[in-house]
Symmetry: C2
Amino acid sequence: MQRQQNLTKNQKIVLDIIEKSTEPLKAYSILSNVKRKGINAPPQVYRALDKLVDMGKIHKIESKNAFVACQNSNCKVSKAAAFSICESCEEVTEIDNSKISKYLSSFADKIGMKYKKYNLEFFGLCKKCK
Amino acid sequence: MQRQQNLTKNQKIVLDIIEKSTEPLKAYSILSNVKRKGINAPPQVYRALDKLVDMGKIHKIESKNAFVACQNSNCKVSKAAAFSICESCEEVTEIDNSKISKYLSSFADKIGMKYKKYNLEFFGLCKKCK
DNA sequence: CTTAATAATGTTATATTATTACATAGTGTT
DNA sequence: AACACTATGTAATAATATAACATTATTAAG
Ligand SMILES: [Zn+2]
Ligand SMILES: [Zn+2]
Ligand SMILES: [Zn+2]
Ligand SMILES: [Zn+2]
C-alpha cells in the first residue's frame, strides 16, 4: 500500500479534518478533534501528517506550525508551495504557484543551487483587510 | 533606549554568538552557550531574539526553528528574507533578495494582498553537494 | 496456506521549543 | 523624590515534536 492514492485509516481521518477546516490546524488541535476516532496519541497524528505532506496532500505553514489542505493540484509534482498570510484576520491562502515557481526555479539555478522544493510565506493584509 | 542601534546587554550577547556561528543556532543552544554570561533562562534568550528579528539583525529559519545573522544589509528595510538550505550539508545561506523581492512584491500586488514581508526557503543541494 | 518481510498502528515516555506570570532593577523625565 | 517606562531575572508551565518499543495488518513468496 501507500502509493499516491489509497490512504491509510489514520491518514484519511487526519486529511479529512484538515480538508474540512477553514483555517490551518495544529497537530494537537487535530489530535483533540480525533480522539473519538481511535487516534489517541501524538505520534499517530504526526505520522499521518508527515506522509500527507510527502504526498503533497497537505502543506505545513512553517511560521505557524500548522497544516492546510493543498488547494492546488500540481503540488504533488513540484513539492513547492506559496502562501499569503493575513496578519489581521489570520486567513491563509495557497497561491497558485505555476507562474511563481518558474521564476523561482530559474533563480535557484542562478545561485548555483540544485533546487528540490521551496516554501514561501507572504505576510501582510489580505484583500478584505487592507 | 532601544532604537535601531544601541543594543541592550542581553541583545549584544545573543547577537554576538549568532554572528560568530557558521550555522543557524537554536534558542536553547544559544542559552546553553551563554549561561556563563548572566543569561540563565529561556525568556531572556527569546526576548533578545524577538527584538533582534524586529530590527532585521537576525532572521529566523522557520523550517528549522533556528536563527542566523543577517548577511544582507538591506533587510532592515524590507523585512523580507530568502534562504537556500542544503539538505545534505545543512548549509544555510541568505540570498541577496534585491532582485527577487521586486518580483515577489509585484506578485503580491497581483493577488490583491498588501504585502509587508515574506519568508522564502529553498531546499535542495548547494553548489558543493550537487 | 504458511511463512517471512514490510508497513502501519498503538502506547508510554520524554525531548524540544516557546510563553506566562510576576518580581526586581535600571533609566530618563518632571 | 516621584513617576513612567524599559529591560532583566526567575520559576513554572504550555505547546510542539520525537524516541523507543510492542503489536497488528498487509503483502509477497515459497
Ligand atoms: Zn499545494
Ligand atoms: Zn485579512
Ligand atoms: Zn537579511
Ligand atoms: Zn551542501
